[in-house]
């Protein structure tokens, strides 16, 4: 029967072993995997401004990006290719606040530079390799 000491060794040994593996994998992901798959070399001022606006306006509080967010408004990972930059601009600059089919978006008074930043951010996002996400709908005609 397992003794308390053996149980303690199981806990501490297992924790440190798997923590070490996790940290090793994290270092590889952060230094090699993510920079390649996300095209980190293309992170320019406009894209960074777009990311800062994404945070500032808490867009994640309604939308999802890379599947992360609040499921109340559309997934935006591929919005650049799905809708195009003109549509995104129209949404962001709607003088009455965007409100498709009754679901309201907060009205933002963005400058032209800010709108460009968000479009650049979505264009950069559109090129990210997310291991097949979001999936192509198999029944879509």
């Amino acid at each position: 029967m397992l003794s308390k000491l053996q149980a303690k060794v199981f806990f501490l040994g297992g924790t440190f072993l798997f923590l070490a593996i996790f940290i090793g994998m994290s270092i590889h992901s952060l230094t090699v995997g993510i920079p390649e798959q996300m095209n980190a070399k293309d992170l320019n001022e406009k894209v960074i401004l777009g990311k800062q606006l994404w945070d500032k306006h808490n867009c994640m509080g309604c939308h999802t990006l890379m599947g992360e967010g609040a499921y109340y408004a559309p997934e935006l990972t591929r919005v650049y290719s799905r809708k195009g930059p003109d549509y995104i601009k129209a949404v962001l600059t709607d003088p009455n606040g965007w409100g498709p089919r009754g679901r309201k978006m907060v009205k933002y008074d963005m400058t032209a530079e800010e709108v460009e930043g968000l479009i650049a951010f979505f264009e950069w996002m559109n090129r990210a390799d997310l291991n097949g996400f979001p999936p192509e709908p198999s029944l879509k005609q």
């Binding site: 501490l12 993510i34 798959q37 306006h57 890379m66 992360e68 997934e75 997310l130």
Partner: protein, 453 residues
């Protein structure tokens, strides 16, 4: 209670109750918005309501953990708390930071990062507050006359929870890196160190309620928390499948996420076995119910429902849909909300000297809240699966799917109403207890002291 200083726990428990009610109010705003009645949009837009709802959850659970620690640590260390004035200062500053954060969300003072929306200046105050809390707990343990595995597991959980908050405070331009570290905080909290805290509190409750030998309980505590970390650390990988991480996370995250239910199953078997082995019939039935509820529902919500959508092939379709909300609600309810309600149910009769531990209102609270939450989970499941089919398989646009699934939110709101009735019953019992007393009883003769006449 054995020591007068344990009374400070009452403040944290009361704050937990207040924040839980507020969390529910914001939950209703979200439910109605999903039904198509976003009537408060101009005042409280959806992103404000969702941020407030989630952060209130984190804060009331943390407040419950802190209260639990202030109650348990003096008992386990067999000594008064290191400093009651410092503990009071920590309480009021914690409550103040919480109020400022929630108010700030309503004027757009936030970071826009799910679960970590508290803005940076307040992050530093949170860090200072938690350091003060840990100093009080650690000094109590160091100066204590006794040392126990239970108290150290609980304390280590609290220490690592504080340390893990730090990666979430670093800013990154690359949103994928930002997300990577955000999950260090959120995942390694809820599927890692919070489970240490859960294990510690659960072990304490089982020792007290079942009367099983401490050595036996603490041995299995090591096994359960060992399983938690062995599966949970690399299980973080399921957050890296589709957020810009390399492909190997699909395999590693998939395998270790599939093992994560084992830790929760271990927790369930552990609690039920200890209950069966117990040779004492503790009179506090409500604490026993909530304790066993924690063990069982955490396995269902966090373990099984987590497994249901963390396999990469399934997650490809369910990621970023209401299926996640289904898992999230029952997981938090089972693992952490029930646990806080269990320790409150156990501690309040001791803190106040009032023997409210087997009354009708308490049992109604238990059943209404649980049935309500299961109804909410089922509604989220129906809405989530329909959303996956309509959007991800059939290719309808987001709003078409959102309108189709609105009826599920009517059911959700009805179930949430039953859940709210349960919580209000629980709070009514909490209020009946009144404030804490200075009378010391229990100690080694707790069973005798608690027996109803």
């Amino acid at each position: 209670m054995k020591f007068k200083s344990q009374k400070i726990a009452y403040h944290f428990f009361a704050l937990s109750m207040l924040l839980l009610v507020l969390q529910i109010v914001y939950g209703f705003i979200l439910g109605f918005a999903h039904m198509g009645y976003d009537v408060l949009h101009e005042l409280i837009p959806f992103n404000t309501a969702v941020t407030t709802h989630k952060n209130l959850l984190v804060v009331w659970i943390l407040s419950g953990f802190m209260g639990a620690a202030y109650y348990i640590i003096p008992d386990e260390a067999d000594n008064e708390l290191y400093s009651v004035p410092l503990a009071k200062l920590q309480f009021w500053s914690f409550a103040l930071v919480g109020v400022v954060a929630v108010a700030g969300f309503h004027v757009g003072w936030w970071e826009g990062r799910k679960f970590l929306e508290i803005p940076r200046p307040l992050d530093w105050l949170v860090a200072l507050n938690v350091i003060l809390f840990l100093v009080i707990i650690l000094m109590t343990l160091i100066k204590g006359r006794k040392s126990s595995t239970t108290s150290w597991v609980l304390t280590m959980g609290l220490v690592f929870a504080a340390l893990l908050y730090l990666p979430g405070m670093i800013y990154f331009d690359n949103i994928s890196v930002d997300s990577f570290f955000r999950w260090w905080v959120v995942h390694l909290w809820v599927e890692g160190v919070w489970e240490l805290i859960m294990g510690g509190i659960l072990a304490y409750l089982l020792i007290k309620i079942t009367g099983v030998d401490r050595e036996v309980i603490e041995k299995w505590l090591y096994v359960v928390v060992g399983l938690t970390f062995i599966s949970g650390i690399l299980g973080t990988g399921h957050h890296y499948y589709y957020t810009g991480g390399p492909k190997y996370w699909l395999m590693v995250g998939g395998i270790f996420s599939a093992m994560e239910p084992l830790a929760f199953l271990g927790m369930t078997v552990f609690a039920l076995q200890m209950y069966r082995k117990g040779n004492k019939k503790h009179p506090n039935k409500l604490a026993l119910y909530w304790t066993l509820n924690t063990a069982i529902v955490s396995f269902l919500g966090a373990g099984l429902l987590g497994l249901a959508h963390t396999l990469p092939q399934v997650n490809m379709y369910t990621h970023g849909t209401l299926v996640t909300a289904m898992h999230g609600h029952l997981a938090f309810w089972g693992a952490y909300a029930s646990l806080v309600l269990a320790i409150i149910s156990y501690a309040m009769p001791q803190l106040t000297g009032r023997k409210i531990f087997d009354n009708r209102v308490g049992h109604l609270a238990f059943w209404c809240a649980n049935i309500g939450m299961i109804g909410m989970t089922a509604s989220f499941a129906a809405a989530g699966v329909a959303q996956v089919y309509l959007e991800r398989i059939a290719g309808f646009d987001f709003m078409t799917a959102a309108i189709e699934i609105q009826p599920h939110f009517v059911v959700l709101v009805l179930a949430a109403s039953l859940f709210t009735v349960g919580i209000l019953f629980f709070i009514s019992n909490f209020l009946k207890f009144g404030g804490p007393t200075d009378e010391l009883e229990a100690g080694e003769n707790e069973f005798e002291a608690l027996k109803t006449a």
